[in-house]
Structures are given as structure tokens and as C-alpha cells.
């Protein structure tokens, strides 16, 4: 890369710039010291920021009213996923009305870019991006989330209900 240096009289007087900068720093320091409420940073582990409900955090697999998994294993999320982090294995469900369901649904969360395309692609509201964002783990811990984690982790308190219900659909004659 070539940079064209322009000779400028003003730039020779750099000391003035430095003093102005230090002045701004001092101003913020004093404001923060004597007026803590106006401080724009958070004391992180104690204070946490409230994100908007549209925030895209860790995935949640929704469940039906009976608590079984909503996903039909149509693979649209896996097809749409730009990071290719979703792996689904489909299987035949004993109930003919359900027909197809995932026996394994895995998200490699370290590959995930949280774009939300899976959520958009899902035709049955089976996968959502939830509000969780603090999911640290020790080196070597499992970052490939399976159905058990995605749908039934303790934080979800028994599972999030899907808004698309097959029974309702059948009653409506769809």
C-alpha cells in the first residue's frame, strides 16, 4: 500500500493535538468519577445488559403441547445454514400423523454465526434463536448441542411451545 504524505503546516504542531486529547480523557474521567449514573460502561459480571427480544442468542428447539420435539427433520435449516453447523438425522416416527422426526439434531455452536437463517427457514417454528448469550465452557467441553440440550435444558423449564400445531392445523383443514 502506498500512502501519499501531504506536507501540512498544521501537522507539524502535534503537541496541541495531544493536549486536546488528554483534555477529553480528563473530562470523561471526572464525569465518571463524580456522576456515576451517566457512566456508559457496565460493571459486567454484576450488571448485565438487557438485550432486545429480537436478540439472536443460543438456539432453542421448540416442543409440542405433549412435550415431544416439534422438528420434522425437513433439513431446511441445515440447507440454509451458511456455516453448515446443523446436522440432522431423520427417522420414521411410530405415529403416522407425525411421520418424520429427528433422532439426532446437533448444532456445532462454535461454527454457528448466529445469523438466524435457520429460524427463518423453519416451516414449523421448531428452531428459534433465544436470548441466551453467556455460554462459556472450559477447554474441551462439549460445544455440539444435541436435542437434549437444545430443547430440554434446565433454563427452558420444560421446553418452549411451538406456535405451529399439527392438531390445530388438522382441525382447520389444512
Amino acid at each position: 500500500m502506498s500512502v501519499v504524505k501531504q506536507k501540512d503546516e498544521k501537522k507539524e504542531w502535534y503537541l496541541l493535538g495531544i493536549v486536546t486529547g488528554l483534555g477529553i480523557t480528563m473530562k470523561h474521567l471526572l464525569v465518571n468519577l463524580f456522576n456515576k449514573k451517566k457512566m456508559i460502561t457496565l460493571n459486567y459480571p454484576e450488571e448485565k445488559y438487557e438485550y432486545s427480544p429480537r436478540f439472536k442468542g443460543n438456539h432453542v428447539l421448540t416442543v409440542k403441547k405433549d412435550g415431544s420435539i416439534r422438528c420434522t427433520a425437513c433439513m431446511l435449516c441445515a440447507t440454509n445454514c451458511p456455516a453448515e453447523c446443523i446436522t440432522i438425522k431423520a427417522s420414521e416416527h411410530p405415529d403416522a400423523q407425525v411421520e418424520k422426526y429427528p433422532i439426532s439434531y446437533e448444532i456445532d455452536i462454535l461454527r454457528c454465526v448466529f445469523c438466524g437463517f435457520c429460524e427463518e427457514a423453519c416451516p414449523v417454528d421448531a428452531v428459534r434463536l433465544g436470548p441466551e448469550w453467556q455460554t462459556p465452557g472450559l477447554n474441551g467441553s462439549n460445544f455440539t448441542y444435541d436435542i437434549n440440550h437444545l430443547a430440554y435444558r434446565p433454563a427452558l423449564k420444560g421446553g418452549v411451545h411451538s406456535v405451529v400445531d399439527d392438531q390445530d392445523r388438522h382441525k382447520a383443514g389444512i
Binding site: 420434522t72 427433520a73 425437513c74 433439513m75 431446511l76 440447507t79 453448515e84 431423520a90 427417522s91 420414521e92 403416522a96 400423523q97 411421520e99 418424520k100 416451516p123 414449523v124 392445523r169 388438522h170 382447520a172 383443514g173 389444512i174
Partner: protein, 531 residues
């Protein structure tokens, strides 16, 4: 010949040709469900509407024979409107099953809906519920709700397989496909009904829910299930092969193929394959080695032995080119004509079921016989038995079958080969006999490639030579028989590194251009060819 004009293109057709035949032969697009070139005309789907000049109403193309000077058109708004409303009627009771339906991605309804439909349903009534997941037989599952009653499958069992298992029962919107009481859809061609089903009503139990079709790439090859040599399309991705479908070839298989042939992909996948070469390490150790190195070592052993101590057993499952190279290697390098043809099922060899299936379960018996004849090899099986028994043949190279399950005498024959002093088993299939003898200091193995992984020629029962092309690689370390023969003869396999000029690569592509694994997968998703 009759002159006619279709969509502004002047054509000459044979008398008796229907409009839809003329259109498909000339690569014109026309919507249709019930018409199939291999079946009789039913005219039930009412979707192949065309406008004929001088005729006030649109007509169905499948049942209208072309007359002299006919001017036909299926691109006008009138036709599109007719198709659209025809499609609306088809979709009245069709469930919204696309996410769980195996046909999604190659479905006639989806295709036509995207081309002509794209509207909301105007039905106020509820959808008619029918049976789901009906077990029709050992191979096929029926979903009555998805069926549009095109009757292709019924006509198939009536006209092609002639087993008459299927029928349409009840009337009106209660009508559904089913098997006659107490009967199962159980014939050797039943999976063709799945192929010709334009929607997802009939699905194959074998393929059901294994993969979405848009993850699969396809390529044409020749089935190696029997000596008929049906032209087929295999569907695969980087995990392996998933299904096989027939490709039209009027001279060989028409539009169909048998259910047995559809299972031929199973022995190609890595679970059923011999993946590594092994040798006996002297002190009865079983040492893994590279296939090429093993072939070279075998070559040295055979060269050191006298010509009449060496024997070669060939099966009819490899290509003509491979036979040519291994037979000439044995004759010229190892100076032997002890080359034997292993026939698997002599009794039923000539059997034929009247449609496609033949008793000779090898794709290339004719090719093998031709090569043997050309080289003047006339050794008989009795000579081999005699030679092994009298310890005259000490080194036996067995080029075993890919499809081991069609060799009922596999175990007996293998046990017989093991009576020789040194046995080299070249095989694509995992063989139980290898497990049994693996420490015994007399057996070594070389993994082979299957018909999916190599170029070559199969000669079918008619004597028709059919070229096959390499589709994909499953076991990368495996050798083709010709590669193994070249290495045995002491030559090297040259790896020719093509320059960018040879590859016709644009000059501005960097030499160190990275080809990401993810890009390759995207190719499976986006460039998987026409449906």
C-alpha cells in the same frame, strides 16, 4: 411424415404420434402427470393442455394424435390458465407435507406450482383426510393424501410387471390407491412405481428419510447387478451412494429396472468394503500395508515363481479393460495361461424372467469370455481343482466379486482357494474368509475399486458394449484391477500432473487457489444437475 407446428417450430412427425410425444421428443416443456412414455395413455390429470388452431377449446396433448398441418401451442395465456386451474383441483386435497415428504425437491406438483400456480387455494372446504404411511409391501410405502390419482402405478402393475396388485378404490374425493384385498405390492419391479409417481405418494422404504434429494448429486452409469446391463443413474454425495434409478435406453432396459439392481449401491458404500491391503508378515502377523505396495510385492513373488505354479481366478464383475490388462500381465510377465473363470450359479445362469432380470448375476461375463478367447486361454475349472489338489498351482490370485451376495458358492470356493500355498485375494467386498484366515501366513489382500469408481466397458448379454464412467471415489486407497496388474508387472502408475494450460484454466487463477471443503458441499447443494 406429417407436418405440424408446435410453439412456432415446424416439425415433421410420424403418423400416429401424439402431441405430447412430439413435444417431449423435441425438448418442448409441457406440464403433465399421468402420461408416461412407457405406459398407456390414461388422460386423467388434464394438465397437458394445448391450444390447437381452429379448435375453440384446449385439448389434452397426450391423447390427441397429430394430423397434417396442425398448429399447436402451449404457451398462450389460455393454456396457462387451464393448467393453473387444473393444478388447483389437484391441490384441493393435497396436504402441506413438503417438509416431511421425500419427493420434495423432485416433485411434479412443486415444479408445476412454481411454473403455473403460485396462488392461494380458493377452497373453503376442509381437506379430505386419507390414510397415511400405508405399508403396501416390502419395498413401498403409500401416502394416500398426497396421491393425485394419476394412475401411473396402477398402469405399471397392469402393463409392465403384469402383476395387477394395485387399483383405485372408492369414488370422488374418497378415491385412493390401494392393493387388492390380501395382496401386497410384492414384485421384482415394484420400486419403479416409486420412480414414476409424480408426487410423494409412493416412497421407497429403502431411501425413505435417508437424505433430502437436494443433497444428492447424480451421474449415469450401468448397473452391475446382472448381465442385462440396465442404464442407471446413481445418486450420491460425499457420504456415499444412496439410491439408483433407471435411465431410458430403448435397446437395453426401456424405462425400467428391477428392485435387485437398486440394491447394488449397498456393496459400494464403505461399510461393505475392503478398505486396506494386508499381508502376512512372516511370523504369522497380519500387517496393514498400502494397496500399491502390496501389488508390487505380489508381482515380485509371482515373477520369482515358475509359470505353471501361478494361477489367476477371474469373475465376471470387472470391466473389459481390466481383464485385458491383467490377462496380458499374467500371460506376458508371469508366463502362465492358468487363468480360470469362476462361474457363480451355473444352474440358473441362463434364466430370464421375461422383463429384465437375468440369471447371470455378472455384468460382464461376455466381456471376460471375449478377452479369454482373444488371448487363447482355455483353462477349465477342473484343471484348477486338479492343480491346487496336486500342489502344482502354488500361487493363486483371486480377483473376487464386488457383489459378494450374488455368489452363493462364495464360501465354499474361498475355502477351496485356501488349500493353495499362497493366496492373494483382490476384492472390493469385505469377505468373511479373510477374517478367518488373516493370521495364517498364506493370504494377502488387495482392495479393489467398484464399478462406481472406475472407467471401463461392460459387455452385456446381447454383446452390447456399454461404457461406464467414474462417478465418485469411495475407497481412495483401492486399486482398479488394471492398476494392480500394472504394478504387479513391475511398472509404476504414473501420476500425470496437468498444467494449467492443459486444464484450460484461466491464467489469472492463482496456483495456490484454495478449494474449500465447504465449497464442495455447496456444489452438491446447488449444482446437482437436472431433476
Amino acid at each position: 411424415m406429417l407436418k405440424c407446428t408446435i410453439n412456432g417450430v415446424a416439425l415433421e412427425v410420424k403418423p400416429g404420434t401424439t402431441i405430447i410425444e412430439a413435444m417431449t421428443q423435441n425438448a418442448q416443456r409441457i406440464a403433465h402427470y399421468c402420461w408416461h412414455p412407457g405406459l398407456s395413455v390414461a388422460g386423467v390429470c388434464r394438465l397437458c393442455m394445448v391450444e390447437i388452431q381452429g379448435n375453440p377449446r384446449v385439448q389434452i396433448a397426450c391423447n390427441t394424435v397429430i394430423t397434417e398441418g396442425m398448429v399447436i401451442n402451449n404457451t398462450s395465456d389460455k393454456v396457462k390458465d387451464a393448467v393453473k386451474w387444473g393444478l388447483d383441483f389437484h391441490l384441493i386435497n393435497h396436504p402441506l407435507d413438503c417438509p416431511v415428504c421425500d419427493q420434495a425437491g423432485e416433485c411434479g406438483l412443486q415444479d408445476q406450482y412454481m411454473e403455473y400456480g403460485q396462488y392461494d387455494s380458493e377452497m373453503a372446504e376442509k381437506k379430505q383426510k386419507k390414510h397415511k404411511v400405508v405399508d403396501l409391501g416390502p419395498t413401498v410405502v403409500l401416502d394416500s393424501e398426497r396421491c393425485i390419482l394419476c394412475s401411473r402405478c396402477v398402469r405399471f402393475t397392469d402393463e409392465v410387471s403384469k402383476t395387477n396388485e394395485l387399483g383405485i378404490f372408492n369414488r370422488g374425493d374418497h378415491a385412493e390407491i390401494g392393493t387388492h384385498a390380501g395382496k401386497k405390492l410384492d414384485n421384482k419391479y415394484s420400486l419403479n412405481t416409486v420412480d414414476i409417481c409424480p408426487v410423494g405418494a409412493l416412497t421407497s422404504k429403502d431411501f425413505r428419510f435417508k437424505q433430502r434429494v437436494w443433497y444428492l448429486k447424480d451421474a449415469e452409469t450401468v448397473c452391475n447387478g446382472c448381465s442385462t446391463g440396465c442404464n442407471v443413474k446413481v445418486y450420491f454425495n460425499k457420504e456415499g451412494l444412496f439410491r439408483i434409478k433407471p435411465v431410458y435406453n430403448a435397446e437395453v432396459n426401456g424405462h425400467w429396472m428391477c428392485d435387485e439392481g437398486r440394491d447394488t449401491y449397498k456393496f459400494v458404500n464403505i461399510g461393505a468394503r475392503m478398505t486396506k491391503a494386508h499381508k502376512n508378515g512372516g511370523s504369522s502377523a497380519w500387517v496393514e500395508t498400502h494397496a500399491g505396495a502390496m501389488a508390487k510385492e505380489v508381482g515380485l513373488t509371482l515373477k520369482a515363481a515358475a509359470g505353471d505354479q501361478v494361477g489367476l481366478v477371474l469373475t465376471g464383475q470387472h470391466t473389459v479393460e481390466e481383464y485385458e490388462s491383467i490377462v496380458s500381465t499374467f500371460i506376458n510377465t508371469f508366463k502362465t495361461k492358468n487363468i480360470f473363470h469362476w462361474v457363480n450359479n451355473k444352474e440358473s445362469f441362463e434364466a430370464f424372467d421375461g422383463i429384465l432380470l437375468r440369471g447371470d448375476k455378472n455384468p460382464n461375463t461376455k466381456g471376460l469370455l471375449q478377452v479369454l478367447e482373444k488371448h487363447g486361454v482355455s483353462a477349465t475349472w477342473a484343471q484348477l481343482e486338479e492343480g491346487v489338489k496336486s500342489k502344482k498351482i502354488k500361487h493363486l490370485v483371486v480377483v473376487g466379486p464386488e457383489a459378494a451376495h450374488v455368489y452363493p458358492d462364495l464360501d465354499a470356493k474361498m475355502q477351496f482357494f485356501m488349500t493353495a500355498e499362497n493366496v492373494v485375494i483382490m476384492s472390493a467386498a469385505k469377505l468373511p474368509v479373510v477374517e478367518e484366515y488373516k493370521g495364517s501366513n498364506k493370504i494377502s489382500t488387495i482392495p479393489l475399486k467398484t464399478f462406481i469408481e472406475k472407467d471401463g466397458t461392460f459387455v452385456n448379454f446381447q454383446g452390447r458394449a456399454q461404457k461406464i464412467k467414474k462417478v465418485t471415489t469411495v475407497v481412495s486407497e483401492a486399486l482398479t484391477v488394471s492398476e494392480a496388474a500394472t504394478l504387479m508387472a513391475g511398472q509404476n502408475l504414473e501420476i500425470h500432473v496437468a498444467t494449467s494450460r492443459e486444464l484450460l484454466m484461466p491464467e489469472n487463477v492463482r496456483a495456490d487457489q484454495v478449494h474449500l471443503e465447504s465449497r464442495k458441499k455447496n456444489e452438491f447443494v446447488f449444482n446437482r444437475g437436472r431433476l
